[in-house]
Amino acid sequence: MVHSVRVFVTLKKSVYDPQGDAVKAALLSDGFEGVRSLRIGKLIDLEVESESREACLAEVERMCRRLLVNGELETFRIQPAEDGDGACAGKADTCASQPAAAAAVEDSAR
């Protein structure tokens, strides 16, 4: 069975994010005065053939530690998704209509 998984990669809190700071400065100068912090990470959508969701998640965690994430600088969160929600690798049109925030909220409620 193919499982959809979304991986969020973020810089550790102790690591300075020059990109995030530059974008924050741009927003502030554009009049968004309330911005206090902005940090940029990565979002990786995968579809993985696996026997079970548990096996899939374990496999994705291995992928994170092996390649997707640099443990020196970054941390990650793996979010499994049911069909049709959350992760949508290879389905850009579906992606566009699904704000990541909604999926993340749903995941944390799960």
């Binding site: 690591v15 020059p18 990109q19 390649l67 997707l68 640099n70 020196e72 600088l73």
Partner: protein, 283 residues
């Protein structure tokens, strides 16, 4: 002295590394990254060149660390072989865990390309053993991901062990922790730096301060060699003479028979063409 210069997909500077090494009278050949086995006796030094392998996708050096050749690079280093990375080569060594720490995007978020003042801080490494501590070098840098970072505990150990080998002078280019421009492993045989030493061996390019680094490597290799068993050159290899520059096909010898060799071979031919022209122009 014989160098193996590893060619990673999308990397750009392997040919110029070979050209520089041959200009200095060393033997050098390209090794395709798909080659799973490097004969440790065939090379005195493995050089991981600069140049955005895999388009710097994911993180610079991240994908290259999974190249088939990397386990044998690890073995080569573990056996005391000299492994040097410039620019992206340094990033690959970090990602592969051969050196501690990691690279962030430059603090300015800008691509920085210029001649940079860099000071030698430790002469413990194969790349710096021929310099004096505090020697100030003028070296080309060209990168967007050169903002070195490492955790406090590791930094302390590195300082204690003399593993911080090069530091930036003013103006500091990228926000690196403690101005770190180059580091080595504990035993000094694996060295990485964002400085492009190979571009500082031709007077026409503004600096020849890189020459000393290759002399350092040669003396390190010689020291290890005599210390070990008094053997002279690696088996069947003669000292480089520049002959191979004009030969034009000798770089082929270092490649495996995989399809990547076409890339390596065409790069080798390119070097042969440019080197000969360069030679004429210089003298």
């Amino acid at each position: 002295m014989k160098y193996g210069v590893i060619v990673f997909p999308g990397g750009s500077a392997a040919p110029e590394c070979v050209a520089a090494l041959r200009h200095l009278g060393h033997d050098a050949e390209l090794i395709w990254h798909g080659n799973p086995a490097v004969d440790p006796d065939a090379y005195d030094c493995l050089l991981l060149p600069p140049g955005h392998s895999y388009g710097d996708y994911l993180r610079p050096g991240a994908i290259a660390k999974l190249s088939p050749i990397m386990p044998s690079v690890q073995e080569y280093a573990a056996g005391g072989g000299v492994v040097v990375g410039f620019g992206n080569g340094f990033q690959i060594l970090l990602e592969a865990g051969l050196l501690p720490g990691a690279m962030l995007i430059n603090r300015s978020c800008k691509y920085v390309c210029r001649l940079q003042r860099i000071a030698v801080e430790s002469t413990k490494s194969a790349l710096t053993c021929g310099f004096q501590a505090a020697d100030a070098l003028l070296l080309p840098i060209a990168h967007r991901w050169g903002n070195y970072w490492v955790d406090d505990g590791t930094l302390e150990r590195m300082e204690h062990n003399g593993q911080i080998v090069l530091v930036y002078g003013d103006p500091e280019p990228n926000g690196s922790l403690r101005g770190i421009a180059g580091i080595c492993n504990e035993s000094g045989n694996v060295v990485g730096t964002m400085a492009h030493f190979h571009r500082a061996v031709f007077e026409d390019l503004g600096s020849t301060d890189g020459v000393g680094a290759f002399a350092s490597i040669a003396s390190w290799v010689e020291k290890v060699r005599t210390g070990r068993n008094g053997r002279s050159a690696p088996s069947g290899r003669s000292e480089g003479s520049g002959r191979s520059v004009r030969d034009g096909h000798s770089a082929r010898g270092g490649c495996c028979s995989c399809r990547g060799c076409d890339v390596a071979e065409s790069a080798a031919n390119m070097i042969a063409a440019t080197s000969v022209e360069g030679g004429n122009a210089r003298d």
